[in-house]
Amino acid sequence: MQLKHILIAAVASSALALTPAAARAQNPTVPEGVRLGLNYTLGTKPGVLVLPMDSTGGDSVRAILQRDIDYDDRATVITLDDQSARAMMPKTGDDFNYPIFAKLGVVAILRPQRSLTGITITMYDVAAKKRIQIGGFPLTDQVNSPAWRMAVHRASDEVERWIFGTPGAAATRILFSGGDKQIWVIDSDGENARKLTSVTLAMSAAWSPDATKFVFCGFTPSGSQIAVYSFITGDLHWLSGTARGLNITPTYSPDGRTIAYASGSEGGTDIMVMQEGDASPSRRITVGRGSDNTSPSFSPDGRQIAFMSGRAGHPEVYTMDADGTNPSLLTEFTYGEQAYRASPDWAPDGRRIAYESRIDGNFQIMTIDMRDRSTKQYTSDGQNEDPAWAPDSRHMVFSSTRTGPRQLWVLDAESGRMRQLTHAAGARLAAWSPILKP
């Protein structure tokens, strides 16, 4: 192996890191309060091997960890069949035969083990030939139940933080409109799909920032209205304060206090804001002058809103201040071009806005960098629409017809790698949750 070993330093999470004394003993030059990360070559995807775990649910724990690390797209999961992997485990303690792991391309060994309340995971640095992290994760729910699986996803996310300094986004769920035109939710790894609404027609779900509820557009005898569904009670309530008629594309502000949405009338469709607990009428913030303005998405600091508008004669993505002032075209205007840009979603790190753009008659997923306004196209097969960022600001979920019927796919914006998330036809309009707390 021609690995150029480098040291990745990150701020310690003291509870999970080795004791500073131990770290100092092994690396005398490292100042206290700084932990050592894994040794691997920058720009490569380090090889990670998850050892088998004995005891109930052990196979599931290993499978979920492997899949989450694979879907995180920052490491290469080295898989060994159960027998080979067991043969490589030390008889006692931590006495691994590190050179064999190195030959297989393994940079980090992860060893999940049963504990009193769940599992502990130990991480070994193959190059440094030593244990570098250990953490405990409670697993109190029934094996393979949705809550149990979510707890294992949390362990995966933490392990990724050990390796890369920032956590993964596996402990998340994705809301979407199903082929039955109801709101569904599915785990980020494609498991546990379940239907949440049973109204005439529901679409455009958006998570609250604390992930305890979501807001969506539902069709009623008085037109399309805005409703909030609570994960805690399982109830939904329709917001008063919206006009009869067309009320669509709701979204929460990052502080969770404001709901922005679009409301239509004879005079066009404009973006409105309302306070959720307040029955007073909504306030209009766009001046569309008869045009259609929809699909608001807040910047993470809550100061700006990206939205789409037909005010220039064709649909384009704009940004404006959160009070509706200073609207400006996001993408470069090209005279004579009949562009169609739609469905903006502001990345949680604020750096990029994802949107869909019509290119040669088909819609493709694009991003625009908020600093230099450079754009990047991610898709080219079929119709690809409605991108929504994961909390890691790296992955996006979107709908695509690339294999025929419309399905949800997940895209890694760094590598361009894609995976299919749903397998029931008609899924669209996805929204990725924040990291779900226990």
């Binding site: 679409m203 037109g223 669509i248 239509g264 259609d292 649909p315 739609a342 409605d386």
Partner: protein, 200 residues
């Protein structure tokens, strides 16, 4: 009941009442004897015959008037159906446009006299789009299509309060398919009478 039906029913009842008056009883003969008995018998038979004739005539008149009512109802129903067809005629649009085409304008113009003749009828106008582009934005586009149709009718003298607009965007396609034939039939506004008309 339709007002015209009431009028016809009243006329029919009056006619039947008049028929009953026609076979007025004959005055008894002042002459007595066998002849008079025979005559009385003959008169009685004649009276009975006349009554039977009158009954037949009455029944005939009743049947005629019923047939007249039925025919008038059928004629009105046919006219109504034609009017409803004109009212409900769907109009179509170009891609990502809400502007009314020439064909759409003439279909809308034909609705105006029907709405003027039946002032109790209200219309719900529902705008639709094809399934290309943002399904969220398409809801707004559908509403703008319905709004354009409403504005045209209002400009031609129809009270705005009789016209309600709504949108289903791309959510209720008229035909399935991913080709221009299907798309062109899905970019439309539909019109549904909502009260006062013969159909709900």
């Amino acid at each position: 009941m339709h007002p015209s039906k009431i009028i016809i029913a009243v006329v029919a009842v009056t006619l039947v009442a008049a028929c009953h008056k026609i076979p007025a009883p004959l005055a008894p003969s002042p002459v007595a004897g066998n002849d008079s008995l025979d005559r009385a018998r003959a008169d009685s038979i004649a009276r009975a015959n006349a009554a039977r004739q009158a009954e037949i005539a009455r029944a005939q008149a009743e049947q005629d008037s019923l047939r007249a009512v039925r025919e008038r109802e059928q004629r009105e129903a046919a006219q109504n159906a034609d009017a409803m067809k004109v009212l409900a005629a769907t109009i179509y649009y170009d891609f990502d446009k809400a502007d009314l085409t020439e064909a759409a304008r003439s279909l809308l113009l034909a609705k105006v006299p029907v709405l003027q003749a039946q002032p109790t009828i209200h219309l719900r106008i529902t705008g639709h789009t094809d399934d290309r582009g943002s399904s969220e934005y398409n809801l707004a586009l559908g509403l703008r299509r319905a709004a354009e149709a409403k504005a045209f009718l209002v400009n031609n003298g129809i009270d705005a309060s009789r016209l309600e607009i709504t949108s289903m965007g791309a959510e209720q396609p008229a035909v399935q398919g991913e080709n221009e034939e299907a798309w062109s039939r899905n970019r439309r506004s539909e019109f549904a009478p909502t009260s006062g008309g013969a159909s709900q």
